[in-house]
């Protein structure tokens, strides 16, 4: 690794996630593990959203739909069909990817606010569909048969395993985000973000590139969904498609710096840290989401590039090492 400096943009985030994954084991604390799980989940989701929001410039307000949909499909196969967690993760990612592909063909022609509105509509429509879909338990949802945990050595073992899989998903999301960022495909996405018409004139096949960006941003959220429902032991429509979680993801990506690899990771850390403080504080615990809204407003008004974006602007050498 002679050129390690050149790869700092990927080494730093990977080290951060590795440290986070080891922290609960080293401190041997279940409560640390719960905190770390939440942060890793946020990193995986925010890094995935960043492919669409940060690189391609398309604001998805309903990105949580892929988490809910993939999670539902995965849990169905895990619970009702007796598939292993690994096969369920695969089918969850795949089904979210396919959903994104089909949606992309339909709504990625819309730009700006129209696309953002359509994504909210999609989230609500899928929620309504699941709510009426008897195979997935309709409004009651599905409860995990606890025999499933036995296959993985009991509940404690299964939850510990879920934690390490989540760390793996967070790593995968970061690596995917990095590979997209430094690839020719990613350059096409950035061109679309900057000026879609000019990008097409230059030869970027925007409809295809946008669709694949959407698909890539949907796969890992689907896997995160099934893992979370597996750990949680149940799923119901309201909990699977929370619109406010979509907005929290936007805050994380914007806070850390959209369009950078490190940004969403920092944003996820900072946001979850702050949220942890707010929900336990007497004063803020009921207005926690309003604080998130205020933060989003401040970022959009004053530092639209987010923390990492701001640093990149201020210190030119950082542009080369923080993609």
């Amino acid at each position: 690794m002679k050129n390690w400096r050149k790869h700092l943009g990927i080494i730093l985030p990977l080290l951060a996630v590795a440290a986070l994954a080891l922290w609960p084991t080293l401190t041997d604390s279940i409560s640390n593990r719960e905190s770390a799980f939440t942060i890793l989940k946020a990193i995986a989701l925010a890094s995935s959203l960043n492919i669409l929001l940060g690189y391609t410039g398309y604001v998805s307000f309903g990105h949580i739909v892929f988490y809910g949909f993939g999670g539902y499909v995965g849990l169905y196969f895990l619970n009702e069909q007796g598939w292993s967690i690994w096969a369920s993760l695969l089918v969850a990612g795949l089904s979210s990817g396919i959903l994104a592909f089909l949606l992309g063909k339909a709504i990625l022609r819309l730009r700006g606010a129209y696309f953002a509105l359509a994504t909210i509509g999609v989230n609500e429509a899928v929620k309504a569909f699941i709510n009426n879909f008897d195979l997935f338990g309709g409004p009651i949802g599905m409860t995990l048969n606890f025999k499933v945990y036995k296959e993985y050595g009991g509940a404690a073992e299964a939850l510990s395993m879920a934690f390490y899989i989540m760390a793996g998903l967070a790593l995968a999301a970061i690596v995917l985000s990095y590979l997209v960022r430094v690839s020719k495909f990613g350059l096409g996405l950035l061109a679309i973000r900057e000026n879609e018409d000019a990008a097409e004139v230059m030869g970027v096949v925007a409809p295809d590139a946008k669709t694949w960006a959407y698909v890539l941003s949907a796969i890992i959220p689907g896997m995160v969904g099934v893992l979370f429902f597996f750990k949680n032991g149940n799923v119901e429509p309201h909990g699977a498609f929370p619109l406010h979680a979509s907005i929290e993801l936007l805050v994380m990506v914007m806070l850390g710096g959209q369009g950078t690899v490190l940004g969403p990771i920092l944003g996820a850390f900072a946001y979850q840290g702050m949220r942890g403080y707010l929900v336990t504080s007497d004063f803020f615990k009921d207005i926690q989401l309003s604080v998130s809204g205020a933060i989003l407003l401040i970022i959009v008004l004053f530092i639209p590039a987010g923390a990492v974006g701001w640093l990149r602007h201020r210190f030119e050498p950082l542009r080369r090492i923080l993609p």
Binding site: L187, E194, N195, A199, G203
Partner: protein, 250 residues
């Protein structure tokens, strides 16, 4: 030999406005064609019909003998057509180099990032932007942004280059520099159509010219023929004395 580009009877309407009426011309390889006409004559619309931004209502566009009427812009780019915009459209938050690399990556030859990097180096030197390579495109001034558009189009290694007012807004020494660049591009074997208002410059570099007025093609010929065409002088240049002045013959 089939001409590189054949435009046949191209007609385009916007609501009640007849933007282009029955425009027809052939463009042989290796030439520079000047496209002139007053504001609103339909010059940029003609570019848009050629490179696929608009599909013409009637008529056809053939490129390398193939019918490409109504093709998407990105398909035209892959076929070897590149253009610059009258209102510059740099990818502002990317560096100058990244802009040009994107041109090479997604243009006709579809280079990988590595080989596109080398092409960008060469093209940026050619348009004399190499000193600005690592700055954000947003930080360039207008003249530099026009050269960036040119560099991005050239990096695509096109067969045909459409230049939309690359001289507008430049000072005389910048114009001279740009004209040199245009001639050098032609010498590399790239065919060019240029829309221009700076009459002396466009007459100087064009092999042939077309004049549009209210979407009608009112004249076609060598720069001399155009300059002496009474209809052009009447409809476009206003009065013959002014025409002579613009030609620099006074």
């Amino acid at each position: 030999m089939t001409p590189l580009l054949s435009v046949t009877g191209v007609t385009k309407r916007f609501g009640g406005l007849q933007a282009l009426t029955d425009v027809t011309f052939d463009l042989p390889e290796g030439q520079i064609m000047g496209l002139i006409g007053p504001n609103g004559a339909g010059k940029t619309t003609l570019f848009n019909c050629i490179n696929g931004v608009y599909a013409p209502e009637f008529g056809s566009v053939h490129f390398h003998g193939e019918d490409v009427t109504g093709s998407k812009t990105y398909n035209m780019a892959k076929r070897g057509l590149a253009r610059t915009h009258q209102i510059v459209q740099p990818l502002e938050e990317l560096t100058v180099r990244e802009n040009v690399i994107a041109g090479a990556c997604f243009g006709r030859e579809g280079h990988s990032l590595g080989s596109a990097y080398d092409i960008a180096e060469e093209v940026l030197e050619f348009v004399r932007l190499d000193a600005k390579a690592d700055e954000l495109a947003a930080s360039l001034n207008v003249a530099q942004k026009k050269r960036l558009e040119m560099a991005r189009a050239l990096a695509a290694r096109p067969y045909l280059l459409l230049l939309d007012e690359v001289l507008a807004g430049l000072n005389p020494s910048e114009i001279a520099g740009m004209v040199e660049i245009v001639k050098k591009i032609r010498d590399r074997g790239i065919t060019i159509i240029m829309i221009e208002h700076v009459m002396k410059a466009v007459m100087n570099v064009s092999d042939r010219m077309i004049v549009l007025d209210y979407g009608q093609q009112i004249a076609e010929g060598t720069p001399e023929e155009i300059a002496n065409n009474p209809q052009v002088i009447e409809a476009y240049l206003g009065d013959p004395e002014l025409a002579k002045k613009l030609m620099g013959e006074d």
